[in-house]
Symmetry: C2
Subunit: 232 residues, 2 copies
Amino acid sequence: MLRLIHYSLDPFSRSIRLALAECGLVVELEDERPWAWRRDFLMLNPAGTLPVLAQRQGFVLAGAYAISEYLGDTHGKLNGEGPPRNLMFPGTAIERAEVRRLVDWFHVKMDQEASRYFLEERLYQRFSDFGRNTPDTDIIKAGRANLRYHLSYVSHLLEKRPWLAGDELSFADLAAAGHFSVLDYLGEVPWEEFPRAKTWYTVLKARPSFRPLLADRLPGVPPPEIYAELDF
Amino acid sequence: MLRLIHYSLDPFSRSIRLALAECGLVVELEDERPWAWRRDFLMLNPAGTLPVLAQRQGFVLAGAYAISEYLGDTHGKLNGEGPPRNLMFPGTAIERAEVRRLVDWFHVKMDQEASRYFLEERLYQRFSDFGRNTPDTDIIKAGRANLRYHLSYVSHLLEKRPWLAGDELSFADLAAAGHFSVLDYLGEVPWEEFPRAKTWYTVLKARPSFRPLLADRLPGVPPPEIYAELDF
């Protein structure tokens, strides 16, 4: 049995939960609080990042980059003929590069310019023993402005493509969904202003892989009602 | 002919210059100042990150992640029998995951905790029209403390392995070298305190792929004498 050490509102953990489900893998989930920096967890992943995929008495894969590419390397879809296709990074080498450019966009750029602001200010600071209790309104304001920029970029990509990186679902969509779904849980995504992005998210949200994420509930931090609604 | 849009003291650009050379690819170099945010460059890579690998009238690959994996997908070494080996991410799927964990370590963690501090404070602020002229000493001090932590981690890895991710050179070594070589140009690496890391860097520095990096000179910012010396 594989276990995934994760945090329910961590965008990276969510992107990997989606990827595992899309690859048909069932894993045991183990909670880890990202602000706690527990010694036992750091023994497993000295970088302190989530998620970690571990096999009992076996391998330990640390971080969304290593895990997503591992799934790409090992979990293809059989087409009946030819070699199995890389499900997470589909297509030619050039098409795969486009998937990876966008994974980088969401997991590095959007993380640093938007997701982190909300997570730090609205959750981690509040839960940590050393944190502040009230969010810094300037940081939240900056996060909201940046989030709109990322939603426009998603809309721009979807003008010419059904999925973010091209004709097929890829890890780029799942990486993006990791971030947007966390911000949606916090009621921060102005979907109505970005109808094309909303349609893309609605389609993703209806996939079986998304269901467990919609059932996540953080004690003391309820999501808005529309969070789990497929028709929102 | 391929062209690489890069900045000579950008760690990501350097890791890709090393990777291209290790794969036997010759590219034309085109300078881009990371602090300039030129509109033409943003048209090519809206994320604004370096480097970008472009084929005339052909593909555009943006960012070290997309480029390094593209090289892994397309430039193997023929062993005489079996499929070509992935030069940048060698080994089994689990071994490749270890390479990627470490690439992430240097390109995300070390970048955010050390490299960026020095680049921003000692170069970008100084060259930018809107920047300060003198580095913030608190930031530099924090960068130096963090850099020592990263050097200890490198030493720790090398206790049991000849290369950072295992028995073979991989993109993990080149990613790390991108960062350390920039900080070495700025005279910031206390090599003497970390003899194991120093030996690893000496071996890398002697490879033909490293030579062009040792010849880089930034106008007005000369490197210390030992920067280009193979026996330092």
